[in-house]
């Protein structure tokens, strides 16, 4: 059954997820997103996966949130506080959201997942390392390539073309 920590974590996560999309200022939106991602890390801790939780914290909060904040601060100040949306699309979106929630929710509640409980001991994080180096080693290499290429791509995209190296005028 749910306990108080789980309940407060889920309220925090979902509440800040809504806030991230709906709050007017993009900076506050980024902070709310940060709280959502930290809440997910909290869920990972509840699920006895501290390795993934810490990884989540250092990747999402340590780098992605910084990237997002950085991008937001690059944008003009009017745009940060500007909210552009269409009311009709908004109602349609809320409807879609409710349909997904209710639909998948009823399916899940009706399914056999409800009775899944476990008392098995949690998996040691050393097992993950073994996985990485044995069964998933090709995937790890591919992942490294993807990361490298994406970083290079991002740098190439965001590079400023009009900077001339000879800034000095003697």
């Amino acid at each position: 059954m749910v306990d108080s920590i789980f309940l407060s974590l889920s309220v925090l996560t979902i509440g800040s997820a809504i806030a991230a999309l709906e709050i007017r200022s993009l900076i506050y939106g980024s902070i709310a997103l940060m709280i959502t991602l930290s809440g997910i890390a909290g869920f990972f801790l509840l699920l006895d996966a501290p390795f993934v939780a810490m990884f989540q914290l250092s990747v999402y909060v340590g780098s992605i949130a910084v990237l997002i904040l950085f991008t937001v601060m690059l944008v003009r100040r009017e745009l940060i506080f500007n909210k552009i949306e269409d009311p009709r699309r908004r109602y349609a979106g809320i409807g879609l959201m409710l349909i997904i929630m209710l639909g998948i929710g009823t399916i899940i509640i009706g399914s056999g997942l409800k009775s899944v409980e476990t008392d098995a001991p949690s998996v040691d994080y050393k097992k993950i390392g073994e996985d990485f180096l044995t069964y998933y080693s090709p995937a790890l290499i591919v992942m490294a390539l993807i990361l490298t290429s994406s970083v290079i791509g991002a740098l190439a995209l965001a590079r400023r073309e009009d900077v001339t190296s000879d800034q000095r005028t003697d």
């Binding site: 003009r76 009009d162 001339t164 000879d166 800034q167 000095r168 005028t169 003697d170």
Partner: protein, 377 residues
């Protein structure tokens, strides 16, 4: 950039990236002045120095006071170098009034001037340390400066604003056993100065910070009319003490320090090496000085200058420092114009800072051996 544009001209096309920074009077990285700096990212696109914050109108004030009363006023612009800023005034007024200075007074003046040059240079070096974030550089220089302040206090009776040099000599004779004291402290200071080498001038971080930044070429240095250590750091061998010697400098044994690089490092190293030369001059002057004799020619009360004009200049801590005095048969001068080294070196700032990184701003700016109050007068 193909054509040479004045600073700030090409800003139209990149307007949204430009940030204007007022490195203003209240900023710890400026003196009593303002640099209006436009940065594009970390690069400085234009820099507009804006002196005038401490303008006191010393030149105008000098027209309402007689030649003796001007003395405490005219040393105010650079109180750290107050003997040197009075030196050309005294020379000019002596020319104007036709006074002969006793031989001993000339040596005493040279000693006071060189001691004060060391005080000024150490103060400047201390501020350079603060500008580079090197707090030890500040504390050591400020502490060793105390040695010279002590000597000048024994000589003149005041620690900072000496009012020691007057037309016709100096205010008072040297105190008893000043020579031994001076020699002892100057020798100790030379030892201390050699210890600066390891921690400041050979420090790889300081070198990396100042080398190849703000390069002023030889031709530019002459074209822009810089003086003093800035000019000598760009490879121009020009020192008024050598080229047009005044008082007894022609009898004394010293060299001019010249460096070829013309970067911030050279500009900061030339004054340091000149301090060694100053110590040499002091020791030589102490040796060659007449042991007794008058130090001040007695003036008439309230002397009047003739219908004449005169220009005299000396080498101060910041470069050439000249006085142009016009007199019209009255006890007060008709016009006093002070030509200072700081204001001339200030011209370089837009040229040197353009295209530099923002982090180089303090290193380049203060290496110009510049004193904001003197530029304003």
């Amino acid at each position: 950039m193909t054509t040479q544009l004045p600073p700030g001209f090409e800003l139209e096309k990149v307007d949204d990236r430009i940030m204007t920074l007022n490195v203003g009077p209240q900023h710890p990285g400026s003196g009593h002045m303002r640099l209006i700096i436009k940065v594009d990212g970390d690069y400085i696109v234009s820099c507009d120095p804006d002196p005038g914050y401490v303008h006191r109108g010393e030149e105008k004030m000098a027209e309402y006071r007689n030649y003796i009363q001007n003395i405490p006023h005219l040393e105010r612009p650079v109180i750290h170098d107050s003997s040197n800023i009075l030196y050309p005034y005294c020379l000019a007024v002596e020319d104007l009034l036709g006074i002969e200075v006793p031989e001993r007074a000339k040596y005493v003046r040279v000693i006071a001037s060189e001691l004060n040059r060391c005080i000024y240079t150490l103060y400047w070096l201390a501020i350079y340390g603060i500008f580079l974030g090197h707090s030890t550089m500040f504390m050591w220089s400020a502490g060793d400066r105390e040695l010279f302040i002590d000597l000048l206090e024994a000589m003149s009776g005041a620690r900072v604003t000496h009012a020691f040099l007057v037309p016709g000599g100096v205010r008072n004779d040297l105190p008893a056993n000043f020579e031994e004291r001076c020699l002892r402290q100057v020798n100790y200071f030379e030892k201390r100065l050699r210890e600066y080498e390891d921690i400041f001038y050979q420090n790889p971080l300081l070198k990396a910070r100042t080398e190849d930044t703000g390069i002023l070429s030889r031709t530019d240095a002459i074209r822009l009319g810089t003086t003093g250590s800035v000019l000598r750091a760009s490879g121009v061998d020009f020192d008024i003490r050598k080229k047009e010697p005044y008082d007894v400098y022609e009898n004394l044994d010293f060299d001019t320090v010249v460096m070829k690089e013309g970067d911030s490092y050279a500009r900061s190293r030339v004054p340091y090496l000149e301090m060694f030369e100053s110590c040499r001059i002091i020791k030589d002057a102490l040796r060659k000085m007449p042991k007794s004799g008058s130090v001040r020619t007695k003036l008439k009360p309230n002397p009047k200058g003739g219908n004449d004009e005169v220009y005299r200049r000396i080498e101060s801590g910041r470069g050439a420092l000249g006085y142009y005095i016009v007199s019209n048969n009255r006890p007060e001068p008709y016009r006093v114009k002070i030509s200072v080294g700081s204001f001339r070196n200030l011209i370089c700032i837009p040229y040197l800072l353009k295209g530099e990184k923002l982090g180089n701003m303090p290193a380049v700016y203060w290496s110009l051996n510049y004193w904001p109050v003197e530029a304003d007068r």
